[in-house]
């Protein structure tokens, strides 16, 4: 309904924001701000979904936006902060394979290659070039998430990398096709379980075996007998 020109500008602006947050996540050193940026990114995605809902009118998008808002912007960062307080770790300064500068260059290169690959399929998959751009940014966000996983040391940073990949896929699906809502919901649940297990294991890594159980108690998983 709203004028397409303004719609394109808003969407492009949101794209820039998404890429900004992605780059920040890659280069961020302190974990607390890392989780905040992740929350912002999810929030932007929710807005993107709402904007698309306004444009195309499919009710599904609204549910996805709502779901992302609740789960990804509020609940997961809260859970991550809580688990961060338990662990003594505050900063993740160790970088493998890619320093922040080189990882930015590589993500730019990645964006270009993904665009080059998706270009010759654009006709059948996307309605117009904006949606193609959205899809390309989604896939490159996934690739960036993967880069985070292999270039950072701490498990929590790797989990955030995994979450960014998840956001990338969500962005891709927004611009690609209206997935049935049940699938999105199941994917969200599955995402949450993965994070839960990884954080529990992250605790296991940091602590020695004896104290491993004591820490579990804090999560109520342990029965005091």
């Amino acid at each position: 309904m709203i004028d397409t020109l303004i719609f394109n500008d808003i969407v492009r602006g949101l794209f820039v924001f998404v890429l900004g947050t992605a780059v920040l996540i890659i280069t961020q050193r302190s974990l607390t701000s890392l989780f905040k940026i992740y929350a912002i990114q999810s929030f932007i995605l929710a807005i993107m979904a709402v904007v698309l809902f306004i444009d195309t009118g499919t009710l599904n998008l609204l549910f996805i936006a709502l779901l992302t808002l609740i789960v990804k912007t509020v609940f997961i960062p809260l859970f991550l902060h809580k688990s961060l307080k338990k662990m003594a770790v505050k900063r993740d300064i160790q970088f493998y394979y890619l320093t922040p500068a080189s990882s930015i260059i590589i993500s730019a290169l990645l964006m270009f290659t993904v665009y080059f690959v998706f270009k010759n399929f654009a006709a059948t998959l996307f309605e117009d070039s904006l949606f193609l751009l959205g899809g390309v940014i989604g896939v490159s966000l996934v690739m960036m998430g993967m880069m985070i996983i292999f270039s950072r040391k701490k498990i929590l940073t790797k989990i955030t990398g995994y979450l960014t990949m998840e956001n990338g896929v969500l962005l891709f699906s927004l611009f690609m096709a209206e997935m049935p809502f049940i699938i999105e919901l199941l994917v969200m649940i599955d995402l949450f379980i993965v994070i839960l297990i990884s954080t529990v294991m992250a605790f296991g890594i940091d602590s020695s075996i004896e104290s491993f159980h004591r820490r579990l108690v804090k999560f109520g998983l342990e029965f005091e007998d």
Binding site: F121, I155, G204, S208, H213
Partner: protein, 493 residues
């Protein structure tokens, strides 16, 4: 009427998991707990085995369940369910004695026991539902969940390296699965182009395959292939398998050998669709290249192995690579023998893990230089290992020789260089195994080692598996023959 089949599967699991979780830490000793808990698991696997037998013999396949066709059982999924349930049954029988050994050795503390068995039963449920699910996204989710459950099973030994191994498993598998999900989205949009609501069911995709644009279908195939490849341990994503198998307890390793089948099942279905859509040429070369790469890398790394379980891990990778190559050939004969190979390979791999488990309990380490006087201490396990090794190498009396002979005879005309490379790799694998066995079984030692008392319920499954393997090596039952024939019919090879 058919709608109650998934319920039939789900009900016992939920019931047993409920009992297990509510199992209060009673007064008896840990061993007693273990007996009762493992009893529940055995009941659970027996029920599953019963249902799968009923599915294969009694029910007239294919059956679609629920109105929106989320669950669908045809000959292929029935066959895969049969393999899974047989292996789980054998593993649960073996597990009873093995876990009591773990507890006695203090590797596994009793608290985690009920979670262990609950996860074990849940894993079986997930695998069966994975094979039954008609919708690719549903299959995707079940695969994700199976990764998590297997990772949890690996962690039960709560040693630091186990957690690292589990984390590696989760991260490699789920990152690749995310790419799989991108593939699903592409596939969904493609199906939307053809039929209005768009669907991800295998059956509908098979029907509309001929009207889909083949190049984009193979593009989606590649993304999905990355996901399934990580799950079935093909070359670039296979690196978690040796670490996970070496750290995990043997029954978990045996079971996760079956989880690999789920990945190969997905690739097979996808290839069938791609073949119908006319993208067969590209997919064949793609699968051949990846398959050969996997076999080569696995064959070479088998040569330099010192750890028994890692040796078995690499031989699993090599077998998966061989299966992918035989799918890549695309001839119905190759498919027939590839499925036969899948069945026999799972059995042989389970046998090998059982024996490796006994050796692990006896010598407290997987390294081959710790194995002293194996024939005196563990005669059954050492003979099981030798027979299993001979079977994996492809010596005639065992079924894998039949599969190799026939697949290679088709591969000769498909592509000669691949044929020669594959043969050389089989030679390397055979040499790797024999080098390992000769060095392991001939260590000289003087000091007296008291043998680890192998309870009889661990011996029974080993003997059963050996008899099954030799029987299949010499005689292929008619019912198996017919199932494999109509599978190649269904998949349109």
């Amino acid at each position: 009427m058919e709608n109650w089949i998934p319920v039939l599967f789900a009900a016992p699991t939920l019931l047993i998991i409920g009992i297990l979780l509510s199992f209060w830490k009673s007064k008896q000793t840990d061993q007693a707990d273990n007996c009762s808990l493992s009893l529940f698991t055995i009941i659970h696997t027996v029920i599953y085995f019963g249902i799968s037998l009923w599915l294969i013999f009694a029910a007239d396949l294919p059956i679609t369940l629920f109105d929106n066709e989320y669950f669908y059982i045809d000959a292929l999924s029935g066959y895969e369910i049969l393999i899974t349930t047989i292996v789980f049954l054998l593993v649960s029988l073996y597990g009873r004695g093995y876990v009591s050994g773990l507890i006695k050795a203090g590797d596994l503390d009793a608290i985690v026991l009920k979670f262990f068995y609950a996860a074990f039963c849940l894993l079986e449920l997930l695998l069966v539902f994975g094979f039954m699910s008609n919708n690719i996204a549903l299959l995707w989710i079940f695969i994700e969940l199976s990764t998590i459950i297997t990772a949890f099973l690996i962690v039960t030994l709560n040693a630091r390296e186990n957690i690292l191994a589990a984390l590696k498993y989760i991260f490699i598998a789920s990152t690749a699965m995310i790419f799989g999900f991108i593939g699903i989205i592409i596939l969904f949009t493609l199906s939307q182009k053809v039929i209005d609501g768009g669907s991800l069911n295998w059956t509908t995709l098979m029907d509309i395959a001929h009207s889909v644009d083949p190049s984009i279908l193979s593009f989606a195939f590649i993304f999905l292939f990355i996901g399934f490849a990580a799950k079935s341990g093909l070359v670039p994503f296979h690196t978690w398998i040796p670490i996970a198998y070496a750290r995990a307890p043997s029954i978990v390793a045996a079971v996760s050998g079956i989880v690999l089948n789920l990945g190969v099942y997905g690739i097979l279905r996808l290839y069938a669709i791609g073949n119908l859509a006319g993208a067969g040429e590209f997919l064949k070369n793609f699968l051949l290249v990846i398959g050969l790469l996997t076999v080569i890398i696995a064959a070479f790394s088998i040569l330099a192995r010192t750890n028994t379980k890692k040796l078995l891990a690499f031989s699993s990778i090599e077998s998966m690579g061989f299966m992918i190559v035989s799918i890549g050939i695309g001839a119905p004969v190759a498919l027939f023998w590839m499925l036969f190979f899948q069945f026999t390979h799972s059995l042989v791999k389970t046998l090998l893990f059982f024996c490796a488990g006994i050796f692990r309990r006896q010598y407290k380490s997987n390294k081959f230089d710790m194995i002293k006087k194996p024939f005196q201490l563990q005669p059954l396990a050492s003979w099981g290992l030798i027979l299993g090794g001979a079977a994996i190498i492809g010596t005639p009396l065992f079924p894998i020789f039949l599969a190799k002979w026939n697949i290679l005879s088709v591969l000769v005309s498909a592509s000669f260089p691949a044929f020669v490379v594959l043969l050389v790799c089989f030679l390397l694998v055979a040499v790797g195994f024999v080098l390992f066995f000769i060095r392991a079984f001939n260590q000289k030692t003087e000091e007296e080692i008291q043998p680890y008392q192998v309870p009889s319920n661990m011996k029974v499954p080993i003997v059963i598996t050996i008899c099954l393997i030799i029987a299949m090596g010499l005689y292929i039952p008619s019912w198996l023959n017919n199932i494999l024939l109509d599978i190649s019919g269904i998949l349109g090879f």
